[in-house]
Symmetry: D2
Subunit: 144 residues, 4 copies
Amino acid sequence: MTHAYATPRFVSQVPIRFAHCDPAGIIFFPQYLVLFNGLVEDWFNRALGVPYADMVAQGRTGLPIVHLECDFRAITRMGETVDFGLRLARLGNRSLTLAVDCTGADGELRVAATKVLVFTDLQTHKAIAVPAHIRAAMERWMSE
Amino acid sequence: MTHAYATPRFVSQVPIRFAHCDPAGIIFFPQYLVLFNGLVEDWFNRALGVPYADMVAQGRTGLPIVHLECDFRAITRMGETVDFGLRLARLGNRSLTLAVDCTGADGELRVAATKVLVFTDLQTHKAIAVPAHIRAAMERWMSE
Amino acid sequence: MTHAYATPRFVSQVPIRFAHCDPAGIIFFPQYLVLFNGLVEDWFNRALGVPYADMVAQGRTGLPIVHLECDFRAITRMGETVDFGLRLARLGNRSLTLAVDCTGADGELRVAATKVLVFTDLQTHKAIAVPAHIRAAMERWMSE
Amino acid sequence: MTHAYATPRFVSQVPIRFAHCDPAGIIFFPQYLVLFNGLVEDWFNRALGVPYADMVAQGRTGLPIVHLECDFRAITRMGETVDFGLRLARLGNRSLTLAVDCTGADGELRVAATKVLVFTDLQTHKAIAVPAHIRAAMERWMSE
């Protein structure tokens, strides 16, 4: 799993709080997945111009995960502020593949992950085509 | 439970995410408590100049809650950005009382809460005196 | 806040896991609120004979909290199995008041809390009367 | 990722609660990872006879994840009781590979995952050899 994509990288900074950490004093790993989920929301809201909450609540469109791969390379401690990065690796008809990472302020890669997400109708939980306005916004995040 | 304190109010803005919300589409109430905990951290880090994570990890000083009262007045929905506010209501020998709130961008009070926290030694979990440098920093947040 | 009710006490045993605990090695306090929420679900499902998930998902009836008071008396450590207890303290037209507790296997009271919950219509988030079949089931949990 | 192992499968049943679910009314996917973590604890406590909390708190031995792969095949709804299954796929010098799953009461595979965990010293966060008594207990879970 290498992240040598030529595509632009969206970054959101996150302070690692007491609430993220476990009795070992480091991030409890499912919290990385919660934070990656927040990263996708930030990308929709700030970069794509597609309000994520409206897509879910009004549009009744979901974006569940179908495949996840994560390498946990180094620990992250309570009190650090880290970068969460996102690149669009692939845009399919109904799905997208994101390469996401958590990187320390020292540049150390802590977690590298690949997420495959699928657009769904929240009434039926069936896959649907990527909505046209979202596809248009995402295409600007593909490599040339 | 009224919050008509003359003391200064520390505010931190929080976007309400998918991960905070429940099948009713609104904040799952224990998340308010997680967010109030983050608010106390922000107050320590940004306003008091006392790094919260260092206090816990290096100083082995804890700040557990001993009493909590909350009024949930109105719902908060996914996608809102809300203000979390904090006032120091009382500073005792070993404890402090905080009046915290969650307020919508429309000025509507969503949650008002009072938290009593106690400083403890994390080896013994016994109460200890408020550390002197923290007391000095907090006194600036008391009313004149 | 004393819990000297003559009403029956519903009890659910819970193992305290790594995921419930914080860098101090004890339950992160918002997790008590998550676990009290689960206790209310267990009471509905096992004692009242009212499937909680169906009430929410099919019935579109919610049961949000409007008032909470908690005393945190003693710590609970990772690895303990504790009792979560519930008593119905008051049943109103649209609300109910529950006295809940977390008690160690050694009989030590760890947390005592009072929760006021209100039935709502999940379309409008407005309060509604306690549904008749739920009221009938709850009345068996009132003191004689 | 197929799970056609000849090794024994450890199973723990879990009720899916309101607190596990998101505004789409289904399990919020990081909760699967929290629940898989609980499954590993249950395996240690119930099957291996190694109290997980003592290993962490007294033994200062951690078991962080270094690699994770998940396929999310079907949704799980609030109110279901599902089986979480675990098989030991590989036992190395310092690591173990677990094949875990979430399976509905209807037999439908919801999530299949592979986790690679490493034993660490919680003072240094460095990898250590699998402790001898844990290795002995785990070997009974390998295929013949």
